[in-house]
């Protein structure tokens, strides 16, 4: 094991995959400037700066992916994906189907999101649910350095377009990363902590809020199971349902807003497929239905806290005594 930050884990994954497969290349606004190490090792053809134009960056990735390359593109911040929605959704996501399977789109789109930088809603907007809702795409949003590395490597090897989101607040978070090859398969959630009384389902930085909450709940005698989704699409329904059936109580936690978010999907899934085992309402704890504020204390209050998780579980248990 080695300790590295999420940012370094991402860099390591890129370097390893570019070394392994010379069809992999990376481009975006400032990529060659900021990734000097990759530029030095792989050269200017495979590590490129681009003009400032997200649409054509994503479109170029889709066209390249369809014809033999395996591009990774850095679109910087999630709100900027708005300029590339056509290329991601209408082209990369649909053209395999529309062509009757003639083309595949092995490409990865990187974007950062979430609170922590204090620069407001045009840099911080959790839109991962849009892509979960759209066909043909995969969506990844890890919570640990090891998973950032292992899932990015899997994403680059996948034959489908993958949206890979980095939670800004985790960028400098150090974590243990196994030495050698680490590939974490897409579509598998991780049970971060086992428990029989309540299931906390979350992803990205909210996993850490859930783990903190689980500690405090343990002190109160409640054993919380914490599920880190890691991949939002395909969703690991089995792991979620197994836990829901065991504990009978589910709280979903994320920073993205509530309506039609990933939490809605999980609540709906559980309410349909684990209905008979539920002992309490399925609860969602999410960011408000509002743009992200810049002001530091507001930005901090935007994402669900460990306190809020503890409080929600408390209400849940009070509501329907076991």
């Amino acid at each position: 094991m080695q300790t590295m930050t999420v940012t370094d884990a991402v860099s390591a994954a890129l370097a390893e995959e570019m070394r392994r497969d010379d069809r992999v290349l990376i481009f975006g606004e400032g990529v060659a400037t900021k990734r000097k190490d990759l530029l030095a090792e792989f050269g200017a053809a495979r590590v490129r700066n681009t003009p400032l134009a997200e649409g054509i960056i994503a479109g170029t990735a889709a066209g390249a992916a369809a014809t033999g390359l395996r591009p990774v593109v850095d679109l910087l911040f999630a709100p900027f994906l708005c300029y590339a929605m056509d290329e991601i959704v209408n082209s990369a996501g649909k053209l395999r189907y529309m062509s009757g399977g003639q083309f595949a789109f092995p490409m990865v789109v990187l974007a950062m999101t979430g609170g922590g930088w204090g620069v407001g809603a045009q840099h911080n907007h959790n839109v991962e649910a849009w892509f979960v809702h759209s066909p043909g795409l995969k969506v990844v949003m890890p919570s640990t350095a090891a998973d950032y590395k292992g899932l990015l490597k899997a994403a680059i090897r996948d034959e489908n377009p993958v949206l890979f989101f980095t939670d800004i607040a985790l960028g400098y978070a150090p974590g243990a990363v196994p030495e050698g090859e680490v590939v974490v398969p897409l579509g598998k959630a991780a049970v971060r902590r086992e428990g029989a009384d309540v299931t906390l389902v979350s992803y990205a930085k909210s996993v850490h809020a859930c783990l903190q909450a689980a500690d405090r709940l343990a002190a109160q005698g409640m054993a919380a199971e914490v599920i880190d989704l890691r991949t939002l699409k395909p969703l690991d329904e089995e792991t979620i349902l197994r836990s829901a059936r065991k504990t009978g109580r589910v709280v979903v936690v994320h920073e993205a807003s509530r309506m039609c978010g990933v939490g809605a999907e999980i609540a709906a899934l559980v309410a349909e497929k684990a209905f008979g085992d539920l002992r309490a309402p399925v609860m969602r704890l999410t960011g408000p239905d509002a743009p992200a504020p810049a002001s530091f204390p507001l930005e901090q209050a935007f994402a669900p806290s460990a306190d809020a998780v503890v409080e929600t579980v408390g209400r849940l248990v009070g509501l329907v005594p076991a």
Binding site: A45, G55, G63, D86, M98
Partner: protein, 316 residues
């Protein structure tokens, strides 16, 4: 082009016209969904596509039938696609507006106006990074040139030296809006200069002129590995989509362009120059119509896809 090639070009244009008339008839009988035809623009398709080599690739837009047929696509499989049948190029999933045919190097028919412009840079990047002589042709309309992607695509292609032949088929219309309502510029091609790109405008109803201009452009791209923008001035003789009564079209403008129908022009010229007899031309016309009847029969005999096809080919 030598005489044989010129006759062949006329025949290809006739084939395209016959194909589109077949689709129009099928639609009128409710045997196929509506579609966009490019009647009047056949010289652009044949002139450019015939200047390409077999390993070049093509991306195109919603008026792609001519490009596909000029490339040698099977009209039976195209009609099957238009009719949503299993033997269509895309198994019936694409319908008329998005036919891709990998075996022909046709990577994309985009119905999102501008989609072809946003993907072509990537296809050309593959060409330049994976080796080979191939170039990529990208057909788009004057309307697509109003989308920001046009600008983004040309700029990136210029900066990265991508081997792309951009072909703007300026047919004076953008669905129900005349080009003059959408820009103060005379033509699209001069914009290429702003990106440091070479360009040329050509009479798009003269197949010989288009072919000659395309040949020169292709040769330049092969040599320089840099993009080139060719603007083909032509006219959409039918409506935007079937059916469309064209009530919004100036009848005089339409008449002027009808008189310059590219098939008429090519045919008359070959006859005048003594390379073709009227009888031979009529025979050719009859032959392509016969081919279309066979194609339609093939398409109609093809079964619809089974319901399982609803969810296949979504993920690789």
């Amino acid at each position: 082009m030598d005489t044989r090639e010129r006759v062949r070009a006329l025949e290809r244009m006739m084939l395209i016209r016959a194909y589109e008339e077949t689709v129009i008839a099928l639609h009128a009988e409710q045997r196929a969904a509506g579609t966009c035809t490019a009647v009047g623009q056949e010289a652009a398709a044949v002139g450019v596509v015939s200047a390409l080599s077999a390993d070049d690739q093509i991306l195109t837009n919603h008026r792609s039938a001519g490009h596909l047929l000029a490339r040698g696509a099977d009209p039976g499989r195209m009609l099957a696609e238009v009719m949503g049948r299993r033997d269509g190029y895309c198994g019936g999933k694409s319908g008329s507006l998005h036919i891709a045919a990998k075996e022909l190097g046709v990577v994309l028919t985009s119905t999102i106006v501008g989609g072809e412009l946003s993907l072509v840079t990537g296809v050309a990047l593959s060409r330049s990074m994976l080796g080979g002589e191939g170039i990529v042709a990208c057909f788009f309309g004057d309307g697509a040139a109003c989308e920001g992607r046009f600008h983004e695509s040309l700029n990136l292609a210029a900066v990265w030296n991508l081997p792309i032949l951009y072909v703007c088929e300026n047919n004076q219309w953008q669905a129900f809006v005349h080009r003059r309502e959408t820009t103060l510029a005379d033509g699209v091609a001069p914009q290429a200069a702003a990106y440091g790109m070479d360009w040329r405008t050509v009479d798009g109803n003269d197949v010989d002129a288009v072919r000659a201009a395309a040949e020169r452009a292709v040769a330049t791209i092969r040599e320089t590995r840099k993009p080139f923008l060719l603007e083909v001035q032509t006219y959409r003789l039918r409506g935007h989509f079937e059916p469309d009564d064209q009530s919004y079209v100036d009848p005089q403008e339409l008449e002027r362009w009808r008189a310059r129908d590219p098939i008429l022009l090519a045919r008359n010229r070959l006859i005048t120059e003594g390379h073709l007899s009227d009888a031979a031309a009529q025979e050719m016309e009859a032959a392509v119509k016969g081919r279309m009847e066979q194609a339609a029969a093939f398409a109609e005999a093809s079964p619809f896809p089974g319901f399982e096809a609803l969810t296949t080919d979504v993920y690789a």
